[in-house]
Symmetry: C3
Subunit: 667 residues, 3 copies
């Protein structure tokens, strides 16, 4: 597998010259401004179907030819989009089946983006046709460097075509065996025995929405529908432009599609990164963002990913869209690169005159010139990135992994019981990611069926559902010397959300952890409990397991409620390794203290020896990025000498980094 | 009418052996565990239609035969359910009319429970057929002791069959006289004159949802549809097993069906009791629960009722499902018995492996053995209940009644005006129940058209609507010496929510109470007023009547707002009795002080002479139950000697009851 | 244009004798009570279609003849309603097209009011027929003084008839030129190029709801549909009763219809006034109400308007309907008259026995007699009004105008970006109205395309959208010596919500104000910024523009965030006038201080020389109304002598006005 497609950092973004077809003089001005801003790439053609195929079968490429030629002349790498994210109005009117049907069985009308049936043969054919036309036209165009397939795949359709496809999918998934399905789905409950595949439909409130097994199956079907839709889309591209890599831009932790499954179908994974820098806790926002970067990098075994979208300044879709402080754009870009991104791209190059996103930040705003605060910051970023070309293709070598599993994310959402109000699987994973992030220890964020063997520590918060093989995978890892930490509600259900028999956690995990689950308590928001660990007291929040040690050392106990005195944190030796169980949900402080304990025990080291606090420090290749996301000045203590790549000076000792500032070191 | 069907307290619950048909070895284990837990009954067949009739007309009773035989051999009373609460998937697909249509005219798909049209001739026929088959098969089975008909009837359907049935129902209700209906519904308002019955449809937002008369009529129709559906269900049972009693499990104060009307069609009323023991005010929760017990007991003139469901530990459907403190299960059971229940039953015997309720508490949890905290508590309860057989069939003799009327509950919800945000009829009734509950004075909770003559005190909070005859019923009761207390918005509207003319309260009630209503004020949540009663000041909350005394003694006046100085509490002599009017909504303290005043005046006495505070003390038959629902230790002062039925010791003087503890006394 | 239709103040309201057709004896009692209350007019026939046309084509006027005759005999001016606001049930069943279809394409059922398709040819014909019949019957009836057309027009329909009408409307609006529409709507965004008019449908969530241009166009279509529906309604009235004036009652700032456009089709504008006197800040409520009065007066160039509805005491539709303090009804009436109303009318004369509004206040309540607090207050009001006949027809002469533009109200709602949570255009306009209101300076509330030339000051808060010509209108006004003040987000978009190019504010406005817009920041609710003006510090709330002065004098700067020190308030000389820009949203205090500054600068004077605080003082004709809406006593200082029109005494010096009291002075 290729790790590196470009030997420079792509700096570009969404570019919509077709919106300005009536005032084409702007196109040359765009090129002039791109150069000023250090832009070396542009993504064109997203949502351009209406202009590319104004009537059925009539294609109009003139404008795009002209643009591609400008790119070629000016050394701008064209990332060419397929336009399936939004269809022309004529198509929706002529072939209503291309539009979605909602849960109430009501057909959508034309409008919006992301409004297409994933199953519709007509739509798939239309997509293949336009994609083939694009590929054929630009296959040999020197500006074409990459494909951007569709845009932010999402949603689902409930039409009859999709229902039929779902049933066919189920047949495959369950070996064409209704007995198997009835057993796995436990349909004896509420008299739901299925005696014919036709009895199953997509989950919905006016039908069945209480069977988590059905909901999980539907979610998997939707993922597979997207994969199949995607493979249909790219079939002409694979054939006609086999050497041009492709991606599709994903949306962080969006749960509608299992990105960890989809990733294997992409040459490069990429995502759209819109951190909210106005929450008042920017370090936490930065950690959340870093967590997602690490998840995307880990999806393809550490291969560099793309940050396909980010905002040059502000967004328009939040309830309150405050301007981030000056400098934040550059920090956002550098953070992405430091975590393995080989691109920094924007939505959008130039503000639309109208439409839903006209007040979303753009490199060139409605004034249309370069004398703006935002333009200057983008140009600064461009300049910086051009000096970092060396990092492209560089991999990370993490000794720690956090399991954030897309399927478990859904499973922890869908079951009914215990705390129905607060689940927040992602939040728990970020909580356990934070202690490593703060210490500058690189972390991979992996699915539960990834390879654990290369890690010294694996952390699996709230690992409620176990995919087949996970039990063995964990026990083998610990047996061979690994440190595995897990938290509450571990190993309750299989991938159909059917409980394991014989007590929790499932099977051998009871021996690995040396514990047995007795009951689960839930704490109201305003009435947390308390537990201790190594002599310190911590809050017990939202949920906690009551467990019994069958051999594990008890490192902490509850000190409130009727289960006071019973184990709350345990550690068990198993084979050559250790398994730690934290039976309750608590604050960040507990996670930090427990992680300090296991870091110390395993001897895992940070990526650098720099001392600091309250900022992010991260190494990629030869570069060390010190990023201050906060509004206060911070200091780093350099124990050896480094070169500041901006000033070129040699630095050591205490160095100040101003608010929203950064330092890039080499050496 | 028989008062007693069993000479022991039924201890059992929902049992779903059919879910374990693939691992039948569990069945014998279930029997072994039932004996350990003191279980003497099991309810089987709820939601078993799919396995009983796997294809249309093909019946499969083998598994049930086997289970029934195990029950017989082990002395377990079988309560056999009819399965109409959930239907097989094949039926829904073949006969879509059995499923419901929602207010938008959209047909439901297969799924969920409680999803059947109440009118559908096909569904009624299918229900009769399966019920007949069940009855014929087990009519002479010695284990069969009772029928559990369907499950938690609820909801409604808006299909064309139901619309037609509604119109037929209206014709009967209004003497086939459109003039009558137009007059009662006051259709001159908004030009709604009905000139043909076909012009009326069920209330709905996309049609008519502003006419309370229509909404009340629809609610009555839905009640009568359920009764007719129920009578259809049990017609084969009545015929084939005339000696087997039947019930259907109801849901507390659920407002969709008039339980006070439905009750007369049942041999035994029963309900599913899920108190929330985690609100922080367990005594209030206990009083709420006691109120509902008393309502169910009163529905059938004091005849013992069944507590058909309760949880062995925790529930799964609330947002936050905290474990109740240990001991609470036993207290819940003893409270039910003390209020007249002849059963303590659970949902559920054994945890499902999957499905919506897999994390709902069960006697046997996912571990499947008896060595659990919960199992031990159930076993303790079983043991206690076996010592209380003597109470079965015992009646109560209450001298006080609270009117909680199912029809008034709807009427107080549906009108528009005054305080649209806070109505809470049930809460007001519990508020006025509390003073008696705390003093150990037994209360019946009755409909407004029940017999008042046997009570010394009748309390009717927020008696907004008067059914025909209620005015006379109240005046006769007071005339004959009764003490009648009512509160704000008394006697405004008839059962079609049409206002009485000539001022409020309606007709003769003005004389009975010696007052006339002038206006009604509303108090915002954050700006209560004040009033006094017997020299003490109380808050005026949410709503208050401005009244004029036409003869009543003024016992309290408002002291805020422009009506300061006008009457707030009045007392009027009428015939041999008294009528007290509390014109405003206030805190529990006012209710307690006013009740103290009328208790003192009428000389009503508690059921025992035990002195206590903060717990429940209640006599049933020869037993006195002292129940401490709180988390603190409490003391009871025994003025005479009693036998503690657990220790067998004779007790007197101050006796401690620990938190979540109890004392059962005899003597 | 006639300014005066009556030489006395109309005092009356909605009267529904048809609801009492079964107890007609009440009709004479009504007349007796009307006289006691000083009622000189009654509005009849609203929602009477069901009784007027009980079957298709069968008309029944007997009851109305009888009522009209009573009016004639008793000198009561009949305002006759057309009944289109609610239709008979038979019509809805026979012609379903008369009912509305919702956004989901689901047809409404019969019910409610305001449930008719605006396009349906059948409904339009039926309306013409009944209106013609009414007009023919009463054309020469001496009691008929005015038409009340329909009732509170509102809502919209999405049926196919309306879709077709919308497309025809679009063709006209966009010169039958799809290129023009595509350019204006900027349909290149999201591939929305329209290639056939049939591709456009009404905005909806299941279709297109993200294009503000479509939403604005639909809103204009709905306005025009109402105008066309209205013109259809009144065509028989115009023809048969050309001398009888007509109105339709509007609903304050209701945004569904552009009242500023509709107004030109009415002889008299009228509105339904329901201030909430229980918010705790009655002076603000009074100012809000005054603002709406002034908007209605300004809609027809100062011509007197009608207050067609108000409540005699309380309403029923709010969540919490507290009784207003005694006296408030009279104040509400006097305020209306003081702002230019020539009527004081009530909903409703007599309480309905049933129906949705039975607990809405009425002059005659359910008791049916005159001995009530409310009746006495209405009678007092009637008496007062009869002494104020002289004011009828009197015009105001305002030197100040606030632009509140119905189209801008929608535009400021529909765009996405900046602060999506807090926009509140109307609230901002009232904020800038308040300083003049408090000082007794009369203000006109006008559309942006009204004539500015007669004003000394024009204030245009949040003038985001500019209609064609507005830019020139503003610059001409300032050039000629006007003082124009505007606030944040000025002049961003045209009437299709397409941004202006070349920077904001649009075009010449940059020169008029001497500023250029750089960026817009948004402040979270809990983190306001700060700015100063003339040395005082004020909060910056929700939104602020970052601007650059290109010539304007900087009167205030920001003092927080990265744009600290940049201009926040500017003043620019342009031609003979001045343009002030307040770049941020702030508290009322800033508005008050800025207005004090420009009032001082322009020398605009209050209508009287009376000194006061915390009350409203307003002159109309020879009368000065001093209205104390608060709960405290207030003092006015009379610098010269006036006649108190109630006592007839001459007053000067300090005069007390008690809470909820008033003073009407002459001289």
């Amino acid at each position: 597998m290729r790790k590196k497609y470009f030997d420079f950092i792509i700096h570009g973004g969404d570019y919509n010259p077709d919106q300005w077809i009536r005032t084409k003089e702007i196109w040359d001005e765009d090129i002039r401004l791109m150069k000023l801003a250090g832009i070396n790439s542009a993504t064109v053609g997203i949502f351009s179907w209406g202009i590319l195929e104004p009537e059925e079968g009539v294609f109009c490429f003139d404008w795009l030819d002209e643009i591609m030629e400008k790119f070629r002349k000016n050394g701008i790498a064209a990332i060419l989009a397929t336009p399936s994210g939004a269809r022309p109005a004529w198509m929706a009117l002529k072939y209503p089946e291309v539009l979605r049907v909602n849960e109430n069985g009501i057909h959508n009308e034309y409008g919006d983006r992301h409004n297409h049936c994933l199953t519709s043969p007509v739509y798939r054919e239309k997509v293949r046709t336009i994609n083939r036309a694009l590929a054929e036209r630009y296959a040999n165009h020197p500006a074409l460097k990459m494909w951007h397939v569709s845009n932010e795949y999402s949603g689902e359709c409930h039409c009859e075509l999709c229902q039929t496809a779902f049933r066919e999918w189920l047949k495959k998934e369950y070996n064409n065996d209704l007995n198997l399905l009835n057993d796995k789905w436990w349909t004896g409950f509420w008299s739901h025995q299925i005696t014919d595949w036709s009895q199953i439909s997509s989950p919905k409130d006016r039908g069945e929405n209480h069977f988590s097994a059905l909901k999980l199956a539907w979610r998997r079907f939707v993922t597979d529908s997207h994969i199949s839709f995607f493979e249909n889309e790219i079939s002409p591209l694979r054939q006609i432009t086999p050497d041009i890599p492709f991606t599709t831009n994903l949306m962080g932790l969006y749960g509608g599609i299992d990105y960890q499954k989809l990733a294997s179908h992409l040459d490069i994974v990429s995502w759209d990164n819109y951190p909210d820098w106005c929450t008042g806790d920017n370090l936490y926002t930065a950690a959340q963002t870093a967590f997602v970067h690490d998840a995307f990098r880990s999806m393809k075994q550490g291969q560099p990913f793309f940050m396909m979208e980010s905002t040059p300044s502000v967004v328009n879709q939040r309830p309150v869209n405050k301007l981030p402080p000056p400098g934040m754009q550059t920090l956002t870009a550098l953070q992405a690169v430091s975590h393995g991104a080989d691109s920094v791209q924007y939505f959008q190059w130039r503000s639309s005159r109208a439409g839903h996103e006209k007040y979303h930040g753009a490199v060139v705003d409605h004034r249309g010139h370069e004398n703006t605060r935002v333009f200057r910051e983008i140009a600064r970023t461009g300049n910086l990135l051009s000096g970092l070309s060396q990092v492209t293709g560089t991999l990370c070598n993490s000794k720690v992994a956090i399991i954030y599993d897309w399927e478990n994310a859904r499973a922890t959402e869908y079951f009914s019981g215990f705390n129905n109000k607060r689940r927040d699987y992602a939040g728990e994973c970020v909580r356990w990611y934070m202690p490593f992030y703060k210490r500058g220890i690189s972390v991979d964020v992996i699915a539960m069926d990834a390879d654990y063997s290369k890690y010294d520590i694996v952390i699996a918060p709230f690992l409620y559902m176990l995919k087949p093989g996970t039990e063995e995978r964990i026990s083998t890892y610990v047996k061979n010397g690994g440190m595995f930490l897990s938290t509450y509600l571990l190993g309750m259900a299989d991938r159909d959300d059917r409980c394991f028999t014989g007590g929790f956690p499932a099977g051998e995990l009871k021996t690995v952890f040396g514990i047995e689950h007795e009951e689960t308590d839930v704490l109201p928001e305003d009435a947390p409990g308390k537990a201790n660990f190594n002599g310190v007291t911590y809050p017990v929040e939202h949920v906690c397991d009551i467990i019994r040690s069958t051999g594990a050392a008890v490192r902490g106990t509850y000190i409130t409620d009727f289960y006071s005195g019973t184990p709350a944190v345990t550690e068990n030796s198993y084979g050559k390794g250790s398994a730690v169980y934290v039976a309750f949900r608590s604050s960040d402080v507990l996670a930090d203290d427990v992680c300090a304990y296991i870091i110390n025990k395993t001897g895992v080291m940070p990526d650098t020896d720099i001392e600091y606090s309250g900022i992010e420090v991260r190494r990629r290749g030869d570069f060390i990025f010190c990023l201050n996301f906060t509004q206060e000045n911070k200091t780093v203590k350099l124990k050896s000498s480094y070169t500041d790549i901006i000033s070129g000076k040699t630095l050591s000792g205490d160095i100040n980094i101003e608010k929203c500032g950064f330092l890039i070191l080499k050496g």
